[in-house]
């Protein structure tokens, strides 16, 4: 993807990027702020993931749609206004229709407004690209963010509480390892997850370089023959 010009990848390619290779949490390392705090149980993780995706999606759509109308000098304040507006909408809607989840997530819903992912993507991508590409980017990044949150919260809730989204999964005789629900446990799980993702990337890269090498070896053999 070229920084200056239009992104020529297909919708699917842009979408896929956010899920693994350019995963905001594990690869780009942005958006950490309000993330780990909501991973003490799966419901919160899913709630935050979807709330963030909503704000990201609509912010990207609006900013991309109006990108010609946003003057460069007042770019950042206008981005902030738009992102803050959608964050407020999510906050109000959750308070009205999902009060328990809203209370459980507390101050982290309003904090979505400073989630580095949203500001980052809006500045780097949707302020320069078409609306359709922006939608793909938002969905990819948002869902990439959400699946990581779900994995972390699943591990923490299962090991730390024996439940998954409140449903008892581990046998009743299982004594929950409290450590995982507590903050240090969250940090540890996240660190190990990054490590695992790095390992996966390394092995995929290794395979690709190996395959590329094989192809070039074959070509060389053909040329020499």
């Amino acid at each position: 993807m070229s920084e200056e010009g239009k992104d020529t990848r297909s919708f699917w390619q842009v979408f896929k990027a956010g899920l693994v290779f350019e995963n905001p949490l594990l690869v780009l390392m942005i958006g950490l702020c309000s993330s780990l705090a909501v991973t003490s149980n799966v419901s919160n993780g899913i709630g935050m993931g979807l709330a963030m995706t909503f704000v990201l999606l609509f912010s990207e759509i609006f900013i991309s749609a109006f990108r010609k109308l946003i003057p460069n000098g007042a770019r950042l304040p206008i981005f902030i206004i738009i992102i803050a507006a959608f964050t407020t909408i999510v906050d109000l809607v959750m308070k009205a229709y999902f009060p328990d989840l809203s209370k459980s997530m507390g101050v982290f819903i309003p904090l979505i407004v400073v989630n580095c992912i949203i500001m980052g993507r809006v500045e780097a991508y949707s302020s320069k690209q078409r609306v359709v590409s922006s939608i793909a980017d938002a969905l990819g990044m948002g869902l990439g963010y959400t699946w990581v949150l779900i994995v972390i919260s699943a591990v923490r809730e299962l090991l730390g509480n024996g439940t998954f989204a409140g449903i008892q999964v581990m046998p009743v005789s299982y004594t929950p390892i409290l450590f995982f629900i507590l903050p240090p446990g969250g940090f540890l799980v996240f660190g190990l997850l990054i490590s695992a993702n790095n390992a996966i990337k390394r092995s995929i890269n290794k395979r690709e370089t190996l395959a590329a090498k094989q192809v070039s070896d074959q070509q060389k053999a053909k040329e020499n023959a």
Binding site: G73, A74, I78, I81, I82, A85, T88, V93, P99, I181
Partner: protein
């Protein structure tokens, strides 16, 4: 140059105005739902404490806390039609990591109908067990920490390890909640006393229940009986007994 800044400012203002207007619209739509959440939550908590309740009256102005570390946030006179059933008080005190908020109900006979933990931000697995419905302080009888207060009299000691079973390894939390329950129930008792004597602030109590409550006050609070006309005590007593029987 100056024109450019003005232009930027105007565009910024335009975006801001549109944003604020849209938010105002969303707020209008969601506000009724948000307001009714609070009301529904209160109604259902009061109903759990007093199953026969049909209405409640705000008596916050007439209730005060005797301990400055326990703050009384809300107080209600819970009624079944016009007959008062008791008092519900929501009190907050500082606990281990943050504030702990409890809702307690006290019946006319000065017994506690129940204690609900509304807010608890202490350590999960330790202090937070106060709010857990599966953590039992008495495993045999399956009684939770707040559950053990049901049926206690407001004149009890409310001392952790004496008449209150603490949560294991969470003494601070246990003490904080016990203190909140003690102070809140004492305040409730004071209000009920004042109501019985007719010295309580606003309360729409019918004459019959007031007289019935009077001898009941004498019977249970012993020392502080100051009502005049002990001649009325005799015939009113059987009425008092039946009333207390009904409100149990």
């Amino acid at each position: 140059m100056k024109n450019n800044i003005i232009k930027l400012g105007l565009i910024l203002a335009a975006f801001a105005v549109v944003a604020c207007a849209s938010l105002a619209v969303v707020y209008q739509v969601t506000e009724p739902a948000i307001a009714s959440q609070a009301q529904d939550a209160l109604n259902s908590s009061l109903k759990e404490l007093f199953p026969e309740a049909t209405s409640h009256e705000d008596i916050k102005g007439a209730v005060s806390s005797s301990d400055e570390t326990v703050k009384i946030e809300e107080a209600y006179l819970v009624k079944n039609d016009l007959a008062p059933l008791g008092v519900a008080i929501k009190a907050t005190t500082a606990s281990y990591k943050g504030p702990a908020t409890v809702l307690i109900g006290v019946r006319l006979d000065r017994s506690i109908t129940g204690v609900h933990i509304l807010e608890m931000s202490d350590t999960p697995g330790l202090g937070a067990n106060a709010a857990s419905s599966t953590y039992y302080v008495d495993k045999a009888k399956k009684i939770t920490f707040p559950g053990q207060f049901t049926g206690k009299y407001i004149t009890d000691k409310f001392e952790v390890k004496t008449d209150v079973i603490p949560i294991t390894a969470a003494t601070v939390t246990s003490k904080a909640i016990t203190k909140a329950v003690k102070v809140a129930s004492a305040s409730a008792g004071e209000y009920l006393q004042a109501m019985a004597l007719g010295t309580a602030a606003p309360s729409a109590i019918s004459g019959a229940s007031q007289e019935a409550a009077q001898p009941a006050a004498e019977a249970t609070s012993g020392a502080s009986a100051t009502s005049s006309g002990s001649a009325t005590t005799q015939p009113a007593k059987p009425a008092a007994e039946t009333t207390s029987g009904a409100s149990q």
